[in-house]
């Protein structure tokens, strides 16, 4: 089970989504710790780190770092692959996804993620299926 997903750029948290509940007051300390931990790893180092009961899986996409904290029983390589699935979905949704989308369309990032992961479990491995309800809702809303 995944617990949260963070996107960070230059050491700042740009986006965070929690799949399971943790007290909001602890979020900022957790995020700071996790980001610092992942930033300190070399670029070619192993992308899995231990963090208490969780395994951190992080992956760089351009200037942005995506981090997922998952249970230790999860398949790390699969989580690693999921991050690229998510980024591909964002690419497809935004046309060309870049860090300015994270800044300006933060609620869309949440929505895409929600179609792919609920309660920390992968919901939809197909990008097309994940995006179609969002695009449908977008058309309805814009009317």
């Amino acid at each position: 089970m995944m617990h949260y997903l963070l996107i960070s750029k230059d050491g700042n948290v740009q986006f965070s989504h929690y799949f399971t509940h943790s007290s909001p007051s602890s979020h900022s300390t957790t995020e700071a710790r996790v980001i610092a931990k992942c930033m300190s790893a070399d670029r070619d180092a192993c992308h899995f780190l231990e963090d208490g009961p969780h395994t951190l899986v992080f992956r760089w996409f351009g200037p942005c770092m995506f981090v997922v904290a998952a249970d230790q029983s999860e398949n790390e390589l699969m989580i690693y692959e999921f991050l690229s699935l998510y980024v591909n979905a964002l690419h497809k949704y935004f046309g060309k996804f870049s860090e300015k989308h994270i800044l300006l369309n933060i609620e869309r990032l949440h929505m895409v993620l929600e179609e792919m992961v609920v309660a920390g479990e992968l919901l939809e491995p197909s990008i097309r299926n994940a995006l179609s309800p969002i695009q449908m809702l977008d058309t309805i809303s814009s009317r």
């Binding site: 948290v13 070399d42 790390e76 390589l77 692959e81 309800p133």
Partner: protein
């Protein structure tokens, strides 16, 4: 003047601007807010922007403005993400959810997901909204509600909405079904009793074609199987279905929708492999069914890409966990061998991780990769090094200990501080288990202490001391080695100095009479000790070691006793209260009580059978009686336990005020307390204890000194001085008075816990390690155990429960010691028990609910058995390890009959 005017004008302008902004009809857009916040140069500026916006948002919320509510909530979500409080938007989210517009609903649900937490009262309100939307006729509304429910469901909400979810799980719409499946998963995680309800609908999920439904269905079944053994048995029959789905996936040609780097839906494949592993574990029929498909996946999967390796990784885990054919296991281990040589560090990490998980199933297969694993110890990557270290310890055996230990010591020397503590502890354990001879063992421990510097945990220090103490033949060698270390020591590494000073204090005579293979002058020793005692680099604990050690040396050295006295008395005015007390007490031994200094500073009896207690729970801990304790709790506890002959003891000491005066001098205790201290054995032992054990004359002399008259009080005084007769016969007779007085002398403030552990035969190992060396007073646990033998109540699934007993009239106190023998961290440990109706059961709170690998916890259970019927107990155990729940139950019927006879 003009500048002041300008400033005022500016301020007025600014004020107007702000006012207009607050009053402006249209609130700024989210992206404008983001720009403003991003352009803030300082944290204070950012805070100002956020506070202004929050104030404005609150204002519009109060005005019940529904046109801009959506935009405002969206801004609030952004502010929330930045870490500012945004809980005041919760109600607005609920209003948005209730709105008929899709745009509002989307933001409302998103807000609910992000802003609400499980403990909010607003949950009741949102439950109603969710119920409405789950019954909506539009699939998107249902979908939104399901997503939110999956994210925030609390136990109450789960109970209220389980019916709706179950209905949607049977929907014909795949979009709804997959979301309902994840909601069901969340619900059974919160309320496991609701599992039954979802069972029929869950089974039909597997016949679906849609991958989203399949993957969530498999996830849901996996969770059910993990949660309940009944479900596990029930789902055994779906193994052929899963095999078929997996086969179709591999055989299917290219499908653009689910293709990831040339592999067809790796996510689903991995989920199915995981479920197969759970279903096939320990079941040869199910394993038989899977063998073929696992072999197929293992051979057909492309291993050049990350996805392929992810699948292979999961396959290997499944092959090793189920009862697979031996050929398949070889294949799996070979895949891991390939992984280990992979250039990608992620793959190497995963390989080590997997080897660690399978090493218990197939040690010899993993041994083949030993040299590669040792190579990984030198890897630059910290995650890889950590896994490699853990794996190395799992691979150590009697044949390879020498080479492995050599590598591990090199690793330990260069390791990061965070590794040093665990690594050194594990080195000690491994050396203890497999060391070829004692000399090698001592050498290894000394190297460990040296290599780990200041990161040596206390239990390593005490293990080393115990080892040297109990091996008489090697003491001279050890003390020589330690002297060599100490004479060139950098004073910054405390543990090495602690071990050295302790041993030199005890065995200093061996050092001087040439047995130790070094030539040492007494003046040299004093010089080093002075350096340690007055160094600012040494910790107080180290100085305590050194001071006591120096005192002991005063009975071993011949010429330098005078300078020792000088050093010791100088500590009478030390700033640290502990050292000061020692200084004063010890200088008294040079002056008023000089005649008893010799016997008092006798060598300690060897600490037999207690080594390793700090880490190996099943060996049982050591019981430490720490001498005297002023805490009233402890006092009453001791009195309780020793009630059968306690009065007698009190009489004997009250007759002898002189002795109390001496005790007062030595330990600073109140009269009347000294008597109960040694009665820490259980009553059962104390009563059998009244026959006087043979005592040497020295012992009698000491008693004489204390003012205890031999004669009528002799039997009870024996119980006072010796914990059990066994102890006297075990240890050197002449040393027991020293033992006693050592106990009396050591009156450290932190003794409450240790003394209580002395009472219960089960002592907490951590307490030992901290107090052990300074207190110098140890009673092996086996000696203070009551007469009823203990039992092993449970030893399965990486969990061991030992029980020891104390009988008091009709009440049996069961001390349970749980040991985590697995490699995983155990959390949420729960032990439940039931006894026949004629008995009464009382469970005390356990010492902890979580255990690190090979750590222990204790729990006390009291059983009242007035009618003396044979004791039986049904127990249920559950704990979490590796993220999954382990449950087991059973009956304990092999309690020793002595408990009720």
């Amino acid at each position: 003047m003009s500048s002041i005017k300008q400033v005022i004008n500016d301020a007025v302008e600014k004020g107007k601007e702000v006012y207009e902004k607050v009053r402006q009809p249209n609130p700024i857009r989210l992206r404008d807010l983001i720009r403003q916040i991003r352009s803030a140069k300082t944290a204070a500026e950012e805070r100002a922007v956020v506070n202004r916006e929050c104030a404005y948002i609150r204002l519009t919320f109060r005005e019940e403005d529904s046109v801009w509510r959506c935009r405002n909530v969206a801004k609030l979500l952004y502010i929330h993400m930045l870490g500012y409080p945004a809980h005041f938007g919760q109600m607005e989210c609920l209003k948005l959810i209730a709105s008929p517009r899709f745009t509002d609903k989307r933001i409302g649900y998103l807000g609910a997901m992000l802003l609400l937490d499980e403990r909010q009262d607003v949950h009741l309100l949102i439950t109603n909204s969710l119920k409405n939307d789950l019954n909506s006729s539009t699939q998107f509304v249902q979908g939104l509600a399901l997503c939110t429910l999956g994210a925030i469901a609390s136990p109450e909400m789960s109970r209220d909405l389980a019916g709706e979810v179950e209905r949607l799980l049977k929907s014909s719409n795949a979009y709804i079904r997959k979301k309902a499946a994840v909601c069901a998963l969340r619900i059974i995680l919160k309320v496991p009793e609701l599992m039954e309800m979802f069972l029929p609908a869950t089974r039909s999920l597997l016949s679906e074609k849609n991958h989203g439904v399949l993957i969530t269905g498999v996830t849901l079944i996996t969770e059910m199987c993990l949660q309940s053994p009944d479900m596990l048995a029930h789902f055994k029959k779906i193994v052929p279905n899963l095999v078929r789905i997996l086969k179709n996936l591999i055989m299917a040609g290219y499908s653009p929708e689910h293709d990831v780097q040339g592999v067809s839906d790796p996510f689903l494949q991995v989920k199915i492999l995981k479920l197969l592993r759970i279903l096939g574990c320990g079941d040869s029929d199910a394993s038989e069914t899977m063998n073929d498909i696992l072999a197929q996946v293992a051979t057909n999967t492309e291993s050049s890409k990350n996805v392929g390796n992810a699948i292979l990784y999961e396959t290997v885990l499944s092959i090793m966990d189920i009862k697979s054919e031996s050929g398949l296991r070889v294949l799996a281990i070979n895949i891991l061998g390939r992984f280990l040589l992979n250039a990608d560090k992620n793959i190497r990490y995963v390989a080590l991780n997997t080897l660690l998980r399978v090493v218990h199933a197939d040690n010899s297969a993993v041994q083949r990769h030993r040299s590669t694993i040792l190579e990984c110890l030198k890897d630059a990557d910290i995650s890889i090094r950590k896994r490699a270290m853990e794996l190395c310890f799992a691979l150590i055996n009697g044949n390879n200990i020498r080479t492995m230990m050599k590598e591990l010591l090199t690793f330990l020397e260069n390791a990061e501080p965070e590794f040093k503590a665990t690594c050194s502890s594990k080195c000690v354990l491994a050396a203890e288990k497999y060391s070829p001879n004692v000399r090698w063992h001592i050498d290894t421990l000394l190297k460990v202490v040296e290599a780990a510097g200041n990161h040596v945990p206390d239990d390593v220090v005490s293990s080393t001391i115990q080892l040297i103490s109990e091996t008489r033949a090697e003491q001279a060698y050890a003390v020589g080695e330690l002297w060599r270390h100490l004479s060139v020591a950098q004073l910054e590494f405390q543990p090495m100095i602690q071990v050295s000073t302790w041993c030199i204090g005890e065995f200093g005579d061996l050092l001087l009479n040439g047995q130790a293979d070094v030539t040492v002058e007494e003046t040299q020793i004093i010089e080093i000790y002075q350096k340690i005692l007055w160094s600012s680099q040494c910790s107080i604990t180290t100085k305590e070691y050194a001071l006591t050690s120096l005192m002991k040396l005063s009975a071993r050295l011949n010429q330098e006793v005078g300078s020792i006295q000088q050093v010791v008395s100088a500590f009478g005015s030390h700033l640290n209260i502990e050292l000061q007390q020692r200084g004063i007490e010890y200088s008294q031994l040079f002056t008023r009580h000089n005649h008893m200094r010799g016997p008092l500073l006798e060598r300690m009896p060897p600490f037999e059978g207690v080594r390793g207690s700090g880490t190996e729970g099943e060996k049982g801990g050591v019981a430490i009686t720490n001498g005297l304790d002023n805490s009233p709790d402890n006092q009453s506890l001791l009195n309780d336990l020793s009630s059968p002959n306690n009065n007698n003891n009190i009489n004997s000491t009250h007759e002898n005020n002189e002795s109390n005066a001496l005790l007062l001098l030595l330990g600073g205790i109140e009269p009347g307390e000294g008597d109960t201290v040694q009665a820490s054995t259980s009553p059962a032992t104390s009563t059998t204890n009244t026959t006087p054990a043979p005592r040497s004359t020295v012992n009698a002399d000491i008693l004489d000194l204390l003012g205890l008259e031999p004669g009528p009080t002799a039997p009870s005084s024996t119980t006072t001085t010796s914990t059990s007769p066994a102890q006297l016969s075990h240890t050197n007779n002449s040393s027991s008075p020293a033992l006693l007085l050592d106990g009396l002398l050591n009156n450290t403030p932190s003794t409450t816990t240790t003394t209580t552990t002395g009472i219960a035969p089960l002592s907490t190992p951590t307490a030992n390690s901290t107090t052990l060396p300074t207190n110098n007073f140890i009673i092996p646990q086996s000696l203070s155990q009551p007469s009823v033998p203990g039992i092993v109540a449970y030893d399965k699934n990486g969990m061991k429960l030992d029980m020891t007993f104390e009988v008091h009239d009709s009440v049996t106190t069961i001390n349970m010691l749980a040991t985590n023998t697995s490699l995983a961290q155990v959390t949420d440990f729960l032990f439940q028990a039931a006894v026949p109706k004629s008995l009464q059961l009382q469970m005390m709170t356990p010492s902890s609910t979580s255990m690190a690998p090979s750590a222990t916890l204790t729990q006390v259970i009291k059983v009242n058995n007035p009618s003396k019927v044979p004791l039986r107990m049904r127990m249920r155990l559950s704990w979490q390890a590796n993220g999954s729940v382990v449950q087991d139950q059973g009956e304990i019927s092999h309690f020793p009959p002595a408990l009720w006879q």
